[in-house]
């Protein structure tokens, strides 16, 4: 367990800020809303930091808190979702000049389609997909964090992957 002598709040903030913001941007459609939710998460981190009950793993704790905060935000802001649901996803230009094999395989427009399809997934499917494939958590960890069964996690995962693969195929797969 980390202690206060070796772990500063500033250190935690700097280490986890990019990841928390990326998670919020993935799970929320509105970038301003994602920013607000990220702030809320770090406020919770600060409060938790001041208590004596520190988690074993700040990374897992922050991921869990972020996913739950985004979940709550989506539930409370249905009208904002509706307002922004007609948006079109466009990929920003990649800053790096080098292109990975995956980027070579997929065109920019096709990546936009994948993002659009991801946005159309249900909130739970998005959460499961992000935790399982982007955060690399096990099915059991995802189930425990989200408070659902492992079977549900697998079902959500399958539906999400199935839908994303459909989009990939209909828009010309990368082969």
């Amino acid at each position: 367990m980390p202690d206060k002598q070796t772990t500063s709040f500033e250190g935690l903030y700097n280490a986890h800020r990019p990841k928390v913001q990326r998670l919020c941007r993935m799970l929320l459609k509105d970038s301003a809303e994602a920013e607000e939710t990220g702030q809320e998460v770090f406020l919770k981190l600060f409060k938790q930091y001041q208590t004596d009950s520190w988690p074993d793993d700040w990374n897992a704790w922050l991921t869990r808190v972020t996913v739950n905060a985004c979940h709550d935000r989506r539930k409370s802001a249905w009208w904002k979702w509706w307002r922004s649901s007609n948006g079109e996803v466009q990929l920003a230009e990649c800053a790096s000049a080098t292109r990975t094999p995956e980027e070579e395989a997929l065109g920019r427009e096709q990546r936009g389609h994948i993002w659009s399809a991801f946005r159309e997934l249900s909130g739970r499917q998005q959460e499961v997909f992000v935790l399982r494939y982007l955060e690399g958590w096990s099915t059991e960890e995802v189930a425990r964090t989200l408070g659902i069964s492992e079977g549900s996690v697998k079902n959500h995962l399958f539906r999400a992957v199935h839908r994303l693969r459909e989009v990939l195929k209909h828009n010309g797969d990368g082969s």
Partner: protein
């Protein structure tokens, strides 16, 4: 091919959840093996796309979305207006039609005009003065002398003349002026 694994079974295989029979089928079936590899490749592409930085920027589509977004608002406003209109229709008392109302008004106005122009008022005034004079005559009774009758006749005559010009003087004024001197004389005669 019969016995080939479904997409979900192949996906669950990648999640480490599969029976021994399914695993052995995957090793022996070229089609399923190829499909499994496709799933893995697609999953890599998707994960890489969603995990890459910078994250996508969402831009609003111009034109159509604004229309779609305003549709529920417009529908709500229309519904509210319809409800208000229906409510007012429901609670408004049943009014006669405009045409019937106009007919009644014009008929009433015609009656008023006839009453004014046709001399109803004038006749009423004459009748009233006649009644007054008759009442006076009855009140005087047998004491009314020939002179008294002459005075009353004069009063009738004056009254008739004044009724020809109702706008110049009122009936009451005419009656007073005609009767007053006669009455004074009559009272003085009686005293004597």
């Amino acid at each position: 091919m019969t016995g080939c694994l479904e997409d979900k079974a192949l996906f669950l295989l990648s999640e480490g959840e599969a029976s021994e029979a399914q695993r052995s089928h995957l090793q022996n079936c070229r089609t399923c093996s190829k499909r499994y590899d496709e799933i893995q490749r697609d999953l890599r592409l998707i994960t890489h796309t969603l995990g890459q930085e910078p994250t996508p920027v969402r831009l609003a589509k111009p034109g159509a979305p604004i229309l779609y977004r305003s549709l529920p608002i417009a529908a709500g406003i229309l519904l509210a207006v319809a409800l208000m209109w229906g409510e007012s229709r429901l609670w408004r008392p049943a009014a006669p039609s405009e045409q019937a109302l106009n007919g009644e008004v014009s008929q009433f106005m015609q009656q008023v005009a006839e009453a004014i122009d046709g001399g109803t008022i004038k006749n009423a005034g004459t009748a009233s003065s006649d009644t007054d004079l008759t009442s006076l005559q009855v009140a005087l009774g047998e004491t009314c002398s020939d002179e008294c009758r002459d005075l009353l006749d004069n009063a009738f005559a004056t009254n008739t003349q004044s009724n020809t010009k109702p706008s110049d003087r009122s009936f009451v004024t005419v009656k007073k002026r005609a009767i007053e001197p006669a009455m004074k004389r009559l009272v003085s005669d009686m005293d004597e």
